[in-house]
């Protein structure tokens, strides 16, 4: 009996695969090519689930897919109108078109610049004058993503960056690590090669016998000539300058002796002529060379982990023979495709989000959830603080009301709230930290914080504001709230529960003002000095419940 069930699942999966694989109207060679790879990946997973008797979650609904792909690609929720349109669109290729549209939007470049900034230099720095340099790195990255510059090319540019951080944002990378060779060796190996060599700084590594102390320092030697200094304007640090000195060596301490170590690319044996160029340029050439497959593998796996909350190789910085990928075929095929297509990041994203595993629901298929390493159910991934903040501004309407009517107030609120969100919700991006745990401070902030409450006041006010100017029924305003927070319409039962709530009598707040004809009512509400009429209060309560629920706080 269970076998029948599995067989049925496989059949359904295959049907889904075929449905997905149907060529779109505007077929190009490239698109079919991508579709073929997606199909291959899908069938590898179908086989894997079948063999392991894992029942995958059902396919994601349009609403789930919309919210997920928006958060993943742009770090924000879709505007209400976009959600309405997408959900009512009946064309079969609407998901593919949405992905294409998002990848070509400025929001894609802006968001991925933030993501990569976090990966490269982390979230905060307490050092003076660094804020400007960080912004500069982010705008440098944004430019690369907007133009879809090949990954190997921009990484080369990043690792060979020189000059002032305000003129070349890439230089910030070296400032963050204070141009220390031993820091850079560890960080670069971890980020770009998915490999930890840090332990070998002080001794031959025990956890990975391949890395000798000599190896660590021969990587460090490539960065031994980087220098940086602050650029001051009357004692104030305005930027940093990075350059490569003509001389400088790396030294390791071994048995109490200080030994000079020459640069050597220890990650792959490449048949390349030794180039007499600057040290970092040599390293970057080797690193990004197609023969150095690990460079592409590590990136593919990093992206996979970003979209699933779990890497094929897991943790993502632990590539070694003893820790093989879950499904080597998937990693290898994606890597081949990535290299063959010129390290095209947008193409890689299109493929990953086109796969069946990505397009599964977060609904548990049985009594227990499928664990992340099966890729058989969408995981509840906590929103990054930046995503949560964007989503909060957009869902509540604070963005649209304030941005145009009170840009300065918006800017202030934005800065203040962003700091609060990052402070309260920050988790480290490093791979070896605890699983998600929510803190009391986060819960208190979302439930009670004054600014959050004011923004909800506004949302509560929005449907009412409309209700007074148009004659749409409450159900329609309820739809608005659900679409804004959850990108979906309420279920029938939810609607009943909420309508019941709206019918209950509420004590008026004092001094109820007429909202009719007041253009800046949203602003007044944000300022907290307009009492809401009873119905708006009831909507406000609903908005409060929506924002505090897991369905809002996770990407799912």
């Amino acid at each position: 009996m269970p076998r029948c069930f599995v067989a049925l699942t496989v059949l359904l999966t295959l049907a889904w695969v075929i449905a997905l694989a149907q060529p779109p109207d505007t077929t190009t060679d490239q698109a079919t090519d991508e579709q073929r790879l997606i199909q291959t990946i899908n069938s590898v997973f179908a086989r894997y689930w079948h063999e392991r008797q894992i029942k995958p979650a059902p396919p994601a609904s349009d609403a789930e897919f919309l919210r997920r792909v928006y958060l993943d690609l742009t770090g924000n929720l879709p505007p209400e109108e976009v959600a309405r349109q997408f959900l009512s669109d009946r064309s079969p290729d609407k998901r593919r078109r949405l992905v294409e549209q998002l990848l070509n939007s400025p929001d894609y470049a802006r968001w991925w610049a933030t993501v990569w900034r976090l990966w490269l230099i982390g979230r905060e720095s307490r050092r003076a004058g660094v804020a400007g340099a960080i912004a500069s790195l982010e705008s440098w990255l944004q430019d690369k993503f907007a133009q879809n510059v090949p990954y190997n090319r921009w990484v080369y540019q990043l690792l060979t960056a020189t000059g002032r951080t305000d003129e070349n944002g890439a230089a910030t990378f070296f400032v963050k690590y204070e141009a220390k060779p031993e820091e850079l060796a560890g960080v670069v190996s971890r980020i770009f090669l998915g490999t930890r060599i840090q332990c070998a700084q002080c001794h031959d590594a025990f956890n990975n016998p391949r890395w000798k102390q000599q190896d660590f320092w021969s990587v460090a030697a490539y960065f031994a000539r980087v220098r940086f200094r602050p650029v001051r304007d009357q004692n104030r640090i305005v930027a940093f300058e990075v350059w490569e000195a003509p001389r400088g060596e790396a030294f390791m301490e071994r048995n109490g002796q200080r030994q000079m170590v020459s640069p050597k690319f220890v990650f792959a044996s490449l048949n390349l002529p030794e180039e007499p160029s600057a040290r970092r340029a040599t390293f970057a050439t080797y690193l990004t060379h197609p023969q150095n497959r690990l460079f592409a593998q590590a990136l593919v796996n990093r992206y996979w982990a970003y979209f699933f909350g779990h890497g094929l190789v897991h943790p993502i910085d632990d590539f070694r023979p003893e820790n093989p990928p879950l499904l080597p075929e998937v990693l290898e095929k994606l890597t081949d495709d990535f290299i063959a297509n010129g390290y095209d990041l947008k193409r890689l994203i299109r493929i990953i989000v086109g796969t069946h595993p990505y397009q599964l629901s977060c609904q548990a298929p049985g009594t227990k959830p499928n664990p992340p390493e099966t890729f058989a159910q969408a995981q509840l991934r906590p929103l990054m603080p930046e995503q949560l903040f964007n989503a909060f501004l957009r869902a509540t309407g604070a963005e649209e009301v304030l941005k145009e009517r009170a840009p300065r107030l918006y800017e202030q609120l934005h800065q203040f709230m962003m700091r609060r969100f990052v402070l309260v919700f920050s988790t480290d991006e490093e791979p070896d930290v605890a699983a998600f745990e929510q803190t009391i401070g986060q819960a208190l902030m979302l439930m009670n914080n004054e600014q959050v409450q004011r923004a909800l006041r506004l949302t509560g006010g929005l449907p009412l504001f409309r209700a007074l100017t148009d004659e749409r029924p409450d159900e329609e305003h309820l739809n608005t709230l659900f679409l804004r927070f959850y990108c979906r319409y309420p279920t029938h039962e939810e609607q009943q529960v909420m309508m019941e709530h709206l019918r209950q009598p509420v004590a008026s707040e004092q001094r109820v003002l007429s909202l009719r004809g007041r253009r800046n009512i949203g602003l007044a509400m944000m300022a907290g000095n307009v009492p809401l009429p009873p119905k708006a209060q009831a909507f406000e309560d609903i908005a409060w419940a929506l924002i505090n629920s897991g369905e809002f706080l996770f990407n799912h």
Binding site: N255, L380, L423, T439
Partner: protein
């Protein structure tokens, strides 16, 4: 070659992974055999120390007075009056025989019989961020592992799960998080000390009845979503909300409200955020909180060291001294360990801007309470303050001692999510003279 020679003072923990032979991920795969060896390993390391720790009365709470930026030891607890490095402040007598502080600390000099002053702290780290990490966690940052700060360790080891308040509270500073121990043990940060707790209650227009209605809707939505996903993260989210609601309703939260205190007490601590922080710390410890960190920022005195240190000491001295007095009056001093430190000290050499720069080769940490033997100085620097000449104390030594005082086994192993074993303290030696 013995393994010890390969490892440096603060190493990455990969030696232990190697010597243990199996990571925890490995253990899950090997099943029962692994389980037994793991339990056995824990039993081996914990057993003897437990026996030791039962014998004496233990501290239950910690107040960390964190001097952000690195305070000058020469202008505070380790004066060098006969040296060109000594600076402008005169030494004064203290309650410890033949031990002097500078004139900036008159009130602390009066309670010095309760202080244990370690004048011989040594570390290699003079970068702010890295040293702050080191002095909060006992480890140097190592890329992939995020170590828990000591506050998180104390919260985990000594905290009662059913306590309404957070176990680890940081006043005005971000402190350092729980790292791989997980967000449950993260510091609860309070930024505004003059007012009752931030975000504790909804705005006034949300009446208790409205809050109930809101929670009814929330419970409904959460129930649907939990049924739908059955996800672990959703469970964790619900637990946090439960705790937050418990906190909102707890009578213990009045500990956060210092406006209840008499004016004279507030004045004694000082009308500034550090003073208020120390007062709040006393109230929290009284309510049962395990670890409170109070920040005093501004010690990075590369310029104008003397003016700035004088100003900071005028804040520090009354607050610290009043805290000790109050703890004693309320019979809390024996059970409360007070630690005064920053990430490092400052150079004996005075630079051309009348400043002192970063210095980790001989700086001062002060301990009090918690059963620590007060009225003594540990270690010494030379006449010019340029070297430790007696009994150097490393950061792991300090942490091992703090653990000992609190009855925490410093050799206890935690496992990171990736299965790396990491001991609470990295091979430190307890300083026996400090124990009462």
């Amino acid at each position: 070659m013995p393994l010890g020679q390969w490892t440096q003072e603060y190493c990455c923990g990969c030696l232990e992974t190697w010597s243990e032979g199996l990571s925890r991920r490995g253990f899950i795969k090997v099943g029962l055999g692994g389980l037994i060896s793991l339990l056995f390993a824990d039993w081996l390391t914990q057993q003897p120390l437990r026996a030791q720790t039962r014998s004496s009365k233990k501290a239950q709470s910690v107040i960390l007075l964190w001097m952000n930026g690195g305070p000058s030891q020469l202008d505070t607890f380790d004066p060098k009056p006969n040296s060109k490095n000594g600076g402008i402040f005169k030494p004064i007598k203290t309650r410890i025989q033949q031990v002097q502080f500078t004139e900036l600390l008159p009130q602390l000099a009066e309670v010095a019989d309760q202080l244990a002053v370690i004048r011989s702290m040594v570390s290699k780290e003079t970068n702010h961020q890295r040293a702050q990490y080191l002095l909060h966690t006992g480890y140097l940052p190592q890329g992939t592992v995020e170590h828990p700060s000591f506050g998180a360790i104390v919260a985990k080891e000594l905290g009662d799960e059913h306590f309404d308040l957070p176990h680890f509270v940081s006043l005005r500073g971000p402190s350092f998080g729980a790292g791989f121990l997980g967000a449950t043990y993260n510091p609860f940060v309070v930024t505004n000390l003059s007012q009752p707790l931030e975000d504790l209650l909804p705005p006034q227009y949300v009446t208790p009845e409205r809050l109930e209605r809101r929670l009814f809707l929330l419970r409904y939505l959460e129930g649907k979503f939990t049924d739908w996903t059955k996800g672990e993260n959703q469970q964790r989210h619900l637990i946090a909300y439960d705790k937050a609601l418990r906190l909102m309703r707890s009578p213990l939260t009045k500990a956060f409200n210092i406006t209840e205190e008499p004016e004279s007490v507030k004045q004694a601590y000082g009308d500034n955020d550090f003073g208020r922080g120390c007062l709040l710390a006393r109230r929290l410890v009284e309510a049962g909180v395990r670890f409170v960190e109070v920040y005093l920022d501004g010690w990075d005195t590369h310029q104008d060291n003397f003016t700035r240190t004088q100003r900071l000491c005028s804040i520090l001295d009354p607050a610290f001294a009043t805290l000790l007095k109050e703890l004693k009056e309320r019979d809390l001093l024996e059970s409360t360990l007070v630690v005064w430190m920053g990430e490092f000290g400052r150079t004996p050499h005075i630079n051309s801007n009348e400043g002192r720069d970063h210095w980790a080769r001989g700086f001062t940490v002060v301990l009090a309470g918690g059963g620590i033997r007060g009225g003594q100085v540990i270690g010494a620097t030379n006449e010019d303050g340029t070297d430790v000449v007696h009994r150097p104390v490393t950061v792991p030594d300090l942490f091992a001692t703090l653990c000992q005082v609190l009855g925490i086994n410093p050799n206890k192993r935690y496992y990171t999510p990736n299965g790396r074993p990491i001991t609470i303290v990295d091979k430190g030696q307890v300083i026996p003279e400090l124990l009462g």
